[in-house]
């Protein structure tokens, strides 16, 4: 496919000049995020995330589950995988089945942040040791990307997983029954903590200007970037700073503080949206019937 487009000289010099003066092209402050919007689909486990208004990042994460055989070396664990793909929908330079560097880095970061931090209890996915387990997979589709893919992708995946319900099961003796949604209300996953990513990009000759939620153009011009993954309790899952200019240790600590504040914001937003969605679903549903009984 054609080469990735490159910013022109004027765009380069001007954007850098503006950032050194503390200005950004879309009128944001250096430490200001674009508006994050989250909506859930009618199905369980579908999260649509939008960052910014017109020139935005848009992602769709979908969780699905099916019963399979566990891996031979991990008989007590279920299977949990996250796949993300950037296709020609994002830009003509992305080819199908030929992952670019951005794509690989995104997949690795999601893996480290969500899977390896033990956010989902994979043992709870086991049904019959060594024979049957749940396989949970998250498919992340990037519809449009204008910078800061990592933070929004991580948010979308966590939101979709928290929203997801898997079919209920029961075991009687030797027989395993998987109930369809019509028979029994599906159940949520056993979720342990919600990690989020916060990325900081560094500009300037010394790398001392910190900018958050960078656009595509800004991303092309940064001298270094650093991604923190942590939950609202301040437990850091990973920090990655891949190449680029070295950064002062004090600046890294400052960024970690900012990351914690941002992650708390993400957590609150997600909790609020989940509660809102639960309310919408329960309108006149089972919960309404139960509460009516209690009142009597």
């Amino acid at each position: 496919m054609p080469r990735e487009a490159e910013p022109s000289l004027s765009e380069r010099t001007f954007t850098l000049q503006a950032i050194s003066e503390g200005l950004r092209l879309d009128g944001r402050k250096l430490d200001e995020f674009r508006r994050l919007e989250l909506s859930f689909g009618d199905e369980y486990g579908v999260a649509d995330v939008k960052l910014g208004k017109t020139r935005h990042v848009q992602l769709l994460a979908k969780v699905s589950a099916e019963v399979t055989v566990p891996f031979a070396d991990r008989p007590f664990d279920g299977i949990f995988q996250i796949t993300s793909e950037l296709g020609p929908m994002v830009a003509p330079s992305y080819e199908v089945n030929r992952p670019t560097e951005t794509e690989v880095l995104l997949a690795r970061l999601l893996e480290k942040t969500i899977r390896r931090s033990g956010a989902l209890d994979t043992e709870s996915l086991c049904l019959v040791a060594g024979q049957k387990c749940w396989s949970v997979r998250v498919d992340l589709h990037v519809l449009s990307a204008d910078g800061n893919l990592i933070d929004s992708a991580c948010f979308a995946v966590v939101a979709a997983l928290r929203h997801f319900r898997k079919p209920d099961t029961s075991i009687e003796g030797e027989t395993l029954t998987v109930y369809t949604p019509a028979e029994r209300e599906p159940v949520p996953l056993s979720w342990l903590h919600s990690p989020f990513c916060a990325t900081f990009d560094f500009f300037g000759d010394e790398g001392d200007i910190v900018v958050v939620d960078t656009t595509w153009l800004e991303e092309q011009l940064r001298v270094a970037s650093c991604t923190f993954s942590l939950n609202k309790h301040g437990e850091i899952c990973q920090i990655s700073k891949l190449g680029g200019r070295p950064i002062e240790a004090t600046l890294v600590i400052q960024c970690a503080q900012m990351a914690l504040a941002k992650v708390k914001e993400f957590t609150d937003l997600l909790d609020a949206k989940l509660a809102e969605d639960a309310k919408r679903r329960d309108k006149g549903g089972l919960m309404a019937e139960l509460s009516a009984e209690n009142e009597r």
Binding site: R55, E66, A91, P92, V96, D146, T180, P181, A182
Partner: protein, 248 residues
């Protein structure tokens, strides 16, 4: 069934984009083009049409490749490919939502071809191409029909639900251009020649309903024809054009 809904040019980075939902399916189409084709597959006389179907869950498999193989010749026929030699028009179709059967637990990998999704894919692709201002020869629409054999004789159901598709003896997808030419035809199951004739007739009526008028000046009367997808596409595109060319 809910009327079709669409959102146009909602992806800022693509040249053209559309979100089309009908009958439980929601498809997002992004169209980029005409862009430079790769040296190894460029054609010096016409533009290539690259169709990419991506499922909501799981990575694409043989079923998606077959959908692409059905859609690609149809779109190639519609696009004025001779205008853009050595170029490629990329059409990416992302399935966002598919109707689910609450009585069956779905599997991630569906090796079976799902004919019911083709009309929505085609309509989303059409809207994407039109918003990307890619020259087309004509517009087209498609419909899905299910034939159910009962003792009393066979019945044809237009826009069947997944359950109805499961119960049908044969499923057909037919596409027609605005000029009433057959654009695509795919069938699955067993059926007689007589049934096929009836399917063809019904599909033509569904797709080309109200097309006799042709001109938008006589488009006033909606009512029974409101579900006609071509009318629907015309009205959403007209509204979009009026909005973006408001200064005229």
């Amino acid at each position: 069934m809910a009327p079709p809904a669409a959102e146009l040019s909602h992806l800022p980075k693509a040249d053209g984009s559309a979100n089309f939902s009908f009958g439980g399916y929601t498809i997002t189409a992004a169209v980029n083009g005409p862009v430079e084709a790769q040296r190894r597959d460029e054609n010096p006389f016409e533009a290539l049409v690259d169709v990419n179907v991506r499922p909501a869950a799981g990575v694409g498999g043989t079923a998606e490749r077959q959908l692409e193989a059905i859609l690609q010749p149809a779109l190639r026929h519609l696009i004025a490919i001779r205008n853009f030699p050595r170029c490629v028009v990329q059409v990416t179709l992302q399935v966002m939502e598919a109707p689910e059967n609450a009585y069956v637990n779905s599997k991630v990998m569906q090796p079976r071809l799902n004919l019911g999704i083709i009309p929505s894919l085609l309509h989303a692709a059409m809207l994407g191409l039109l918003t990307a201002a890619i020259p087309l020869n004509t517009v087209a629409s498609a419909t899905c029909l299910a034939v159910t054999n009962a003792t009393a004789g066979s019945t044809i159901k237009v826009d069947p639900s997944p359950t109805e598709i499961d119960q049908a003896t044969s499923v057909h997808v037919l596409g027609f251009t605005a000029g009433r030419d057959l654009l695509l035809a795919e069938s699955e199951g067993s059926f007689t020649a007589e049934e096929w004739d009836r399917v063809l007739q019904t599909a033509e009526n569904v797709c080309c309903r109200g097309q006799e008028t042709g001109n938008d000046a006589e488009m006033g009367g909606y009512g029974a024809e409101s579900e006609n997808v071509l009318h629907f596409m015309r009205s959403v595109l007209e509204a979009k054009a009026a909005e973006s060319l408001h200064w005229r």
